[in-house]
Subunit: 440 residues, 2 copies
Amino acid sequence: MNIVLLSGGSGKRLWPLSNDIRSKQFIKFFKNEELGDYESMIQIMYRQIKNIDKDAKITIATSKTQVSSIYNQIGRDVGVSIEPCRRDTFPAIALATSYLHDVQGIDENEAVVVCPVDPYVHEDYFEALKELHELAEKGDANLVLMGIEPTYPSEKYGYIIPNSKDDISYVKEFKEKPDIETARKYIENGALWNGGVFAYKLKYVLDRAHELIDFTDYEDLFDKYETLTKISFDYAVVEKEPEILVKRFKGEWKDLGTWNTLTEAMEETSIGKAILNDTCKNVHVVNELGVPVVCMGLTDVVVSASAQGILVSDKEQSSYIKPYVDGIDEQIMFAEKSWGSFKVIDVDDSSMTIKVTLNAGNKMNYHSHDLRNEIWNVISGEGTAIIDGMETPVKAGDVITMEAGCKHTIIAKTNLNLIEVQVGSEINAEDKHKFELEYK
Amino acid sequence: MNIVLLSGGSGKRLWPLSNDIRSKQFIKFFKNEELGDYESMIQIMYRQIKNIDKDAKITIATSKTQVSSIYNQIGRDVGVSIEPCRRDTFPAIALATSYLHDVQGIDENEAVVVCPVDPYVHEDYFEALKELHELAEKGDANLVLMGIEPTYPSEKYGYIIPNSKDDISYVKEFKEKPDIETARKYIENGALWNGGVFAYKLKYVLDRAHELIDFTDYEDLFDKYETLTKISFDYAVVEKEPEILVKRFKGEWKDLGTWNTLTEAMEETSIGKAILNDTCKNVHVVNELGVPVVCMGLTDVVVSASAQGILVSDKEQSSYIKPYVDGIDEQIMFAEKSWGSFKVIDVDDSSMTIKVTLNAGNKMNYHSHDLRNEIWNVISGEGTAIIDGMETPVKAGDVITMEAGCKHTIIAKTNLNLIEVQVGSEINAEDKHKFELEYK
C-alpha cells in the first residue's frame, strides 16, 4: 500500500505545546501502554499503518520546518515530499503524487491513499484505508473517498451525499458546511462527513495536474511551486469528477484540534507532574516542565505548561486561544531536531542558555556563528567534538569553548546531553553558517 | 526608637512563591510607584520605619535560614537576633531583648517595640508604633499593646477587652479566639484584636526572662536556646501582668497569609508576564518565570508560577494548600543569598545547572565540594575568581572549571551573572566545605 500523510499547519491552537515549529501532530499526548511511553499523532499513524501492512510505503507531505521532527519521531524509513511553501491541498497532493512517481519510482498504475495526519482514530480506520487503496486499485472509479458516519449534525464538516446507504456507494453530490437544520436532514438521508481521504491511481492525479499546471516532472513542479495558485483538491479535482466511490466508516474518528476536544481524548487526568485536589472537576493538566502543577477547586479547566509558557483556560474558552497567543512567542523555546532536541533554559540580555540532547549516533550540523561565542558543558554521554576540523573526544564534565567564527559540531556516540551557553550582544537563529563535514 | 521585627515561619501557604527558605515576608508583591519596582513586606516595614524615625534601631528576630534574604533585601544596617531553633515567642523575644542589651549595648531603661513583620499596613501604623514606644518609655505601665479596631467578628484573633473606649486605656482582660457570636458581643463592648505588638522597657522583659530561665547573658541564653520550653509571650508574660496599656489602632491592618487575602491587596491583576482575556473575572496572576501565563474564561482564580512550580487555584480553596504542597519540594529551586541569588534552571540525573547572580562588591563563600565538578560560564559582568588561592580576572564569555575538592569563589566587581554547571553522581546541598578566604 502506498500512503501519503498530509502533515500541515503550525497553528498555535494547542499553545504552549504547539509553537511556530511544533505542530499538534508532534505533541506526545497519547499513552501507549505497550511502549510505556507517550506517542504523538504522527507516531500512532505510522505505527498503525505498519501494523496493517508492514510493507506500506509511507510518504509525508509537509513543509520544511517539520522535517526534523519527522525524522526525530519516526526515523528515516519514510518518504518526505517537501512543499517549498503553502499552496493548499491540490498543489500539495500533485507534488506528493509526482514525488511518488518520479522520485520513488512507483508505477503510475499503482494506487495511493492520501489522508490527513491528525484525525484521532483506531485500528479500524487503517483497515478502511487499506480497503480504499484496494478499491482505487480495482479501478471501478477514478477516486475513492472515506465517508465518516456522522455522530451529530455538525456545521463544521463538508457532507458527502451517496447514492445509497450501502457500505460502498457512488457519490451523488457534495455539500459544503451546512447549518445544523440542513445537516440534520442530510444525515437522515444517509449523508456522510468528508474525511479528507482520497484514494486514486497515480496516473489519475498526474493527468489532472498536467491539465491544470504546466510542468514536466517532480523537480520542475517543485521549482515552480511558489508560482502555483492556491486551490483545494476538493475544488480542483473532486467536485469536477463524475464517478466517485465512497466507503462508509463507522469507527471512532475525531478532530482533536482544540484543547477542549483533545483533553476529552486523554485517558488520564494529567500528563507530567501534577497534583489535583478532590474539589477539581473535569480538569486536565499537560505539564512538560520539570516542576509540579498544583490545581485546587477548579472546574472544566485545562492547564498546560511548557518551556514556551503556561495556559490556564476554561475548556470551552480554549478554542478562542489563537488571537491571544499569536505573536507572543518571539523566541522558540524548544524544538525537536533530526539529531535530538533542544530547550532554552535561560534568556538574558546578552546570553542564552540551552539544553541540547543528541541521540546516539547522531550529529548536529557543522556550523559557525558570526556574533556569538559558545561554550559546551557536556553533562552526560560520550561523543566527538569537531572544532575547526580538530577532533576531540568528549564526556560528562568536559568543556569546549568556541569563539565566534569557529566551525563546530558534536557527534554523539551514546545519548549525549550538554548545556550550551551562548554569549554575545546579538543572539538570533539567523546567525548561523552551515558547512560540509569531512568526517570518516 | 528601638524596634524588633519578629520574622517567622517558612510556611508554604504561598507556594510556589514561598518555599522552605523563602518566607512570605520576602516575596516582592507590592508595587512601589516611586521606586518603579516591587517590594516585599520586610522591605516595606524597614522603609516605613525609617521614614517615621530615620534613627530607628531595627533588629530582626529570625532563624538562620532567613539571614541571607534579610541582608539581600534590606542591607546590613540592621541587627539580627538569630534563634538557633524555633521556641515560640517568649524565648524569641527574651533572646532579642537580651541581644539589644548585651550585643547592641542599649540601656535597660530604654524602650523597645516588638512587632510581627508581616501585617499589611500603611504609614499610620508606624505612627502608632512610635506612640507605643513613647508610652513604654513614659512608664505608666510595664507593657503597652496595640489593639486593632475590629472590622468584623473574626474567630481567628485574640481579643483585648479595655477598661474604656478611649484611644489609650488600661486592659481589663484578654479573651482567646471566640466564636462569632461571642466576638460580636466583645466588639459591641469596645473589644480590640490583639495585634501582637508589645512595647516595654528592656529591663522589664529581662527580669521576666531571668525569673523563668536560668541564664547569665545573651551568649549564654543563645547557647542553651535549644533546651528552652516552647511558650508564647502572651502566656508567659502578658497574661500574668496586671497593668497593661492598650492603644487603639483604627487604620488598615491585614493578615495576608493566604493567596486569597494576598491577591485582595494586589493593586494590579498581574505581576510578571500575563495575558488575561476579557472573560476572566477576579483572576490574579503572579508569575516569576520568564515565559507568559495566558488565562481564559476563569473566575475567582489565582495563578502563580515560579521555578518551584505552578499553582492554579480557586481563591477560597487556596487556603487549604498546605497538605498538597508539603513534601513536594525536595529541591530548593531558587533563593536569595546575602551576596545575590540563584535559580535552578535544569536538573538531570547526574547534573544540575544553576543561574547565579552576584551583586556588585559581593562574593560567595570560599568553598569546595567532594563529589562534584563545577563549571562557571560567566555571561555578564566582571569580577575575580579565586581557585585554590589563585586569582583570575573574569568577564562575560570566560569559563572556569573546578574539579571536586578544589576551593573556589567569585568576587563581583560589577553585577555578575554566571551559569554554573554541576556534574557528578551525587549532587546535594550538604556536599559543601567552607573556608576562610585570605584576600586583600
